[in-house]
């Protein structure tokens, strides 16, 4: 899956988890930019991503994420 496709699916998942239908995310989006993105919804987000992409993250990987772009790169590495 290419970056574009991953980002598109992520946007859909995040719209769902944060319950914000018109959410737009880019590689540069961080938790700061999304009002609903707090530590609790972050857990739900990780769970939803693991389910949708059928991958598992280590906690170290999750802690190292700084932006949506990092997430795209991790997912790309795990799904290819």
């Amino acid at each position: 899956m290419n970056d574009e496709a991953i980002l598109e699916r992520l946007q859909e998942i995040m719209a769902d988890v944060f319950d914000e239908d018109d959410l737009v995310v880019t590689r540069d989006t961080t938790a700061e930019d999304v009002e609903e993105w707090d530590s609790l919804s972050h857990i739900r987000l990780m769970v939803a991503i693991e389910r949708e992409f059928n991958v598992k993250f280590t906690n170290a990987e999750i802690e190292s994420l700084e932006s949506v772009g990092d997430l795209v790169d991790k997912l790309k590495a795990k799904t290819s």
Partner: protein, 639 residues
Amino acid sequence: MFREMSWLPAAPADIRDQIKALGAAASAGEADSAARLDRIATYRLDESQLSKLGRIALSSPIASGHLAALKIGLIGDGTLSLLAAPLVGSGVRHGLLLDVMVGHYNAAVQQVTDPNDPLHTSGLDMVFLGLDRRIMGLDDPALAPGEAEARVEAALARVKMIVAALKPSIRGPVLVQSLPLPVEALFGSYDRVEGGSPISMTERFNQSLVEMARAGDIVLVDIGRLAATIGAEAWDDPRHWHASKLSFAPDLIPLFCDIVARTIATVKGRSKKALVLDLDNTLWGGVIGDDGVEGIVLGQGSSTGEAFLAIQRMALNLRERGIVLAVCSKNEEATARIPFAEHPEMLLKDQHIAVFQANWTDKATNLRAIAQALNIGVDALVFMDDNPFEREQVRSALPAVAVPEMPEDPAHYPRIIAAAGYFDTVTFTAEDRERAAQYQANAERASMLASAGDLSSYLKSLDMVCTIGPVDRLTRPRVAQLINKSNQFNLTTRRYTEQELAAMESDPRLHLVQVRLADRLGDNGIISVLIARDNGDTWDIDTWLMSCRVLGRDVEQAVLSHLVEAARRAGAKWLVGEYLPTKKNVIVVDHYAKLGFEPAGAAGDGGTRWQLPLEDYRVPDLPMNIIDSVLSVSREKAA
């Protein structure tokens, strides 16, 4: 099956859009949105979808009409706030509108010891106490002499303290979860032998919880067993404990919430009462109309035949504990009955089936007829059918009926019924054991009436015996059950716990009686409860309720004659009763008028007040013998 929640139909591909559309429809107040909400709740949803559904239910008025509104506290160990929103969505699936208040993180003890905490002041109905052995000090070995006992005692003391502190401020019980066993053994198999291993301590703690549940102090939610069923390893994901202090793997949130919601519904008396069975390829292999009684597959010697035997055994076991069995099949009735009478391997016999609907009408119509014959709501039915078409027809016509998805192989049928937990209970009384026979007798009475025609001679032919007795330690559990479950024939719908009843029994100004009814078809057990307060010249009826199983049998006349006599003996001149309307008790709107009471103005909440001058009352002819152990009188039925 448990883990995947396979009894629920998979959500359709457009579920996201469906939920979104429901949200819009609900806030616009569209008329069909309640039915759509119910329908979507029956799907297998993930935690985000459940949360969304819950938000829709809470934020729009559509849900309040048909769901039972309850305030629930969610307190305990670890991150419970992740469970709050999906719990609301799971509640919808079980007919509940849950207003969930989440406790502060790991602060249950602090909160319950503060009398001004919202947990005490919000009028909660129930509290769920979630536990984690890592917070409770049961996760590290306790190998010094006496240390293990002390640790388990301390963990238990904390739970008991929380439960005791909450009791006075909540209406219902505290639900407490048992603990999953840790995955990582310290000594291997020897962990079970060594009392100080985390596994041994956890088991001992769970056993103590069971004893608390047995004593009626808590309602147990057996998460420990559920985790074992799914597999401790799949249950317990240390990644999520370390990252977010979530006690179990987050993909199990929908299951966890379903079990909690299911238990809450059970406490509210909303569990299922009857299992309705299809016949061909559900109770036996093959089609009786085509294959004949020799051709159907059932019994020892073939693996398929044994699988169907196991299904029948499951049904019989459920009947044994009070679940009513009925048949709903597209067949000629005479043909459909042949295996029950003639097949030597059939475990289910005619006498086990309360209502037998075999015809060519659609199944939803037949399920309605079954519910009517048993005098229960369609929402008390579980319908088991191997045919996906029939399941879908019933689901869309009657979303209130529970229709489990069935696995490919009939060998798995009993397990799917168990996994769905439709018949989960929080008590088991002698009445429950008799219930299947009682409902069955009811259905027979209904068909006798249809042939007898004349009601009063029919009632006399039943040889009814009505027994009126005090509420005491032995009868209290069933009386409390009736007080908390009866919605229809219930004049005031006041709920009392067993503890409150115990206190009321010893109040000399309160008159509490329970009423049993037996007839030649069976004993209905305790079916009516009356609570009146002696206020000198008047006796005020606080509670009058009756099980709808015995509607139309003049039991209320018998109860009134008792009450009049008791009030007269105390020197009273008037009986005063109230009707307080709810969504469900319209059936008794004319109760007092029918019994000869005069209107006496309005009561609170749109209700009515009624009075009966005692000197005018004459006991009518009643079609039953009355044995009244409270007043020490007995009366023969009218000739």
